[in-house]
């Protein structure tokens, strides 16, 4: 370290000065509210006064039929949302990255830039754009399907309970496929040429080379992508709110934990908002995300072998 040659002053105030702004803002706006929310989840407003009720809100959330049905519905939907991302978004991202990273590929820059464009757009744009395109009123989706003779497959996907959630998950996949693509692309580029040349000398080329040499080397990146997807999906809100509104229709079939928390916190239609129950849902989300992150950090990341080049 640099300061080993410097006589040590008693208190190095500059360290505190450098750290203070970041630590203060981060603690005041992120950490304290996070614990504040966990705390709020244990209170209840009775006749205008906040009372400590312990775990009563959680009992209500998991025990009361009306609450628990909504919670498990949102959690199940959220899990499916995540599964679609893992099964569609990440494999497509890896495929695109593998193709892009092949040496001497022309127009690689153009493909890379274009495929990443949806990722930079806001959920509002993405949501409305797809709502218009899939709309039966405008007819772009049925016309396109008609042009390849599959018009009979068309239904107003966003309006049907059985399709709406999967459709929205795929829209979200469309938007975010750029992220796994870029991260895997970076990982593939960092594999040294000598390794690939050695593989080629041994006659391992093409697909076999990808499966046997490259894939094991990019596993840590796939792990990172999975956990990023997990955290992103389990606090998703904007896309559903934009396309289906706070009620996450049709009939709550697209309700995620984020929209459920928003509705509870702010109220909807005739039901009044309840910050304490909202906090209880936020706390449940916190636990879910914490479990996911712990599984990744202690279960997966430590077992993945990292290669140093």
């Amino acid at each position: 370290m640099a300061n080993s040659e410097i006589p040590k002053p008693a208190i190095r105030w500059h360290i505190a000065v450098f750290l203070a702004p970041a630590v203060l803002v981060y603690t005041a706006i992120m950490i304290i509210p996070l614990f504040g929310t966990l705390q709020l989840a244990m209170y209840k407003v009775v006749e205008g006064e906040s009372l400590f009720v312990g775990l009563e809100n959680f009992q209500k959330l998991f025990g009361d039929e009306r609450w628990s049905a909504s919670f498990w519905n949102a959690l199940a939907n959220n899990t499916w949302f995540f599964v679609v991302h893992m099964l569609v978004q990440n494999p497509i991202g890896i495929l695109l990255a593998a193709l892009l990273s092949s040496p001497k590929l022309r127009m690689a820059g153009f493909y890379r830039t274009s495929i990443f464009i949806p990722t930079i757009l806001s959920f509002v744009i993405v949501g409305f754009t797809w709502k218009l395109i899939l709309s039966p009123l405008w007819g772009i989706a049925p016309d396109l399907l008609g042009s390849i003779g599959l018009k009979s497959l068309y239904t107003p996907w966003l309006g049907k309970e059985e399709y709406a959630l999967t459709t929205l998950a795929l829209v979200s996949v469309w938007q975010f496929v750029g992220i796994p693509m870029m991260l895997i692309y970076a990982a593939l580029l960092s594999i040294p040429d000598e390794i690939l040349e050695a593989a080629e000398c041994d006659g391992v080329t093409g697909m076999a080379q990808f499966w046997k040499v490259k894939l094991p080397l990019i596993l840590p990146s796939i792990g990172i992508i999975s956990i990023l997807t997990f955290v992103g999906n389990f606090n998703a809100f904007d896309l559903i709110y934009t396309t289906q509104g706070a009620l996450a229709g049709p009939d709550f079939s697209t309700d995620l934990l984020g929209t459920f928390m928003f509705r509870t916190f702010f109220g909807f239609q005739l039901q009044l908002g309840d910050p304490n129950m909202g906090s209880a849902i936020a706390s449940a989300m916190f636990v879910i995300i914490l479990i996911g992150v712990s599984i990744y950090l202690f279960g997966i990341q430590t077992r993945l072998r990292r290669y140093q080049f």
Binding site: M1, A2, N3, E5, H14, I15, F18, L19, P21, A22, V23, V25, Y26, I29, M30, I31, I32, P33, L34, T37, L40, I92, L95, L96, L99, L100, L105, M107, F110, Y111, S114, I115, I117, P118, T119, I120, S122, V124, I125, F128, T129, L132, I133, G139, I140, M182, L183, Y185, A186, S190, N235, F237, D238, T242, F265, G278, S279, A282, I289, V293
Partner: protein
């Protein structure tokens, strides 16, 4: 034998291009459809949605509606203020903290690093109920300051993480030379280190900027008043009101797309270089 493998290689390249072109079309098609239709008359939007506007179907009526009805100039201004201010604070505070963590050895260093890194995995949204209460208590609801504070806190963890990784790579000789010349620690940071980490700062800037510009959640909850609406929230509400006016909806969507697109095309080299240089692992 050689010819055979050459043919195989060519076929593989062709297949790669075919897949990439197909996916590029999937990625761009919706955006293009929206933008070209925003320049067409209502009839043409429905009659031939896939053809570009020509002299007969060209119309700016949607843009006129947006211009007259929505306060988009104000929304843009708000989004710009919020994004630029938060970005400046994230970069400055983030670089300062990263410098402290990577440069000095002190008790609690790695604990502090871990504490600041927590926020990379835990979304700030989970604290929303409490954040709203704090903002109400301090009278910051419906101010841009509330948004700037939240986005600064949101951006700091990743910024500190990336920047301190990067700063560890800067040679000590340079900094020690500065110390021998009598530069204070603050000057070493400002004059020597900051210019050297410019590429990393640009990467962090792009990563921080996009989610701030696009966020709907916090503007909706902390600053929904007319005079503090951001573009994203403004577009959401505007489009909700004009659902049946297709010209206006398509134009406002295009207006929301184009600035981000231009910024992206300017910075995309920087972004890709940032990702691929291993700044983000």
């Amino acid at each position: 034998m050689l010819q055979n493998s050459q043919m195989k290689g060519r076929a593989r390249t062709l297949a790669a291009h075919a897949i990439l072109i197909t996916y590029t079309i999937i990625a761009l098609f919706p955006v293009i459809v929206i933008v070209i239709n925003s320049f067409k008359t209502r009839n043409a939007i429905f009659r031939s949605p896939l053809s570009p506007p020509n002299s007969e179907t060209f119309s700016l009526v949607g843009y006129e509606t947006v211009w007259n009805q929505g306060d988009f100039v104000l929304y843009f201004q708000n989004s710009l203020i919020v994004t630029i201010m938060s970005l400046a604070l994230v970069l400055l505070f983030g670089a300062m903290a990263a410098f402290a963590l990577s440069e000095y050895r002190f008790r609690g260093n790695s604990l502090m690093g871990l504490y600041l890194a927590l926020g990379i995995m835990i979304p700030i949204r989970l604290g929303t109920v409490s954040i709203l209460q704090i903002m109400v208590a301090s009278g910051l609801v419906n101010t841009l300051t509330a948004l700037i504070l939240v986005y600064t806190a949101q951006g700091l963890p990743l910024a500190v993480f990336i920047l301190s990784e990067f700063m560890r790579g800067i040679s000590d000789d340079l900094k020690n030379a500065g110390r021998i010349d009598g530069l204070s620690e603050y000057r070493i940071f400002g004059r020597l280190v900051l210019p050297l980490i410019r590429p990393a700062l640009a990467t962090v800037a792009v990563f921080t900027m996009i989610p701030i510009w696009n966020d709907l959640w916090f503007p909706l909850i902390l600053a929904p008043a007319e005079e503090t609406k951001t573009v994203t929230l403004g577009a959401q509400i505007f489009i909700g009101q004009f659902v049946t006016n297709w010209n206006a909806v398509l134009s406002s969507l295009s207006l929301a797309i184009v600035p981000v697109l231009i910024l992206y095309l300017i910075f995309s080299k920087q972004l890709i270089r940032g990702i691929t240089s291993g700044a983000v692992k």
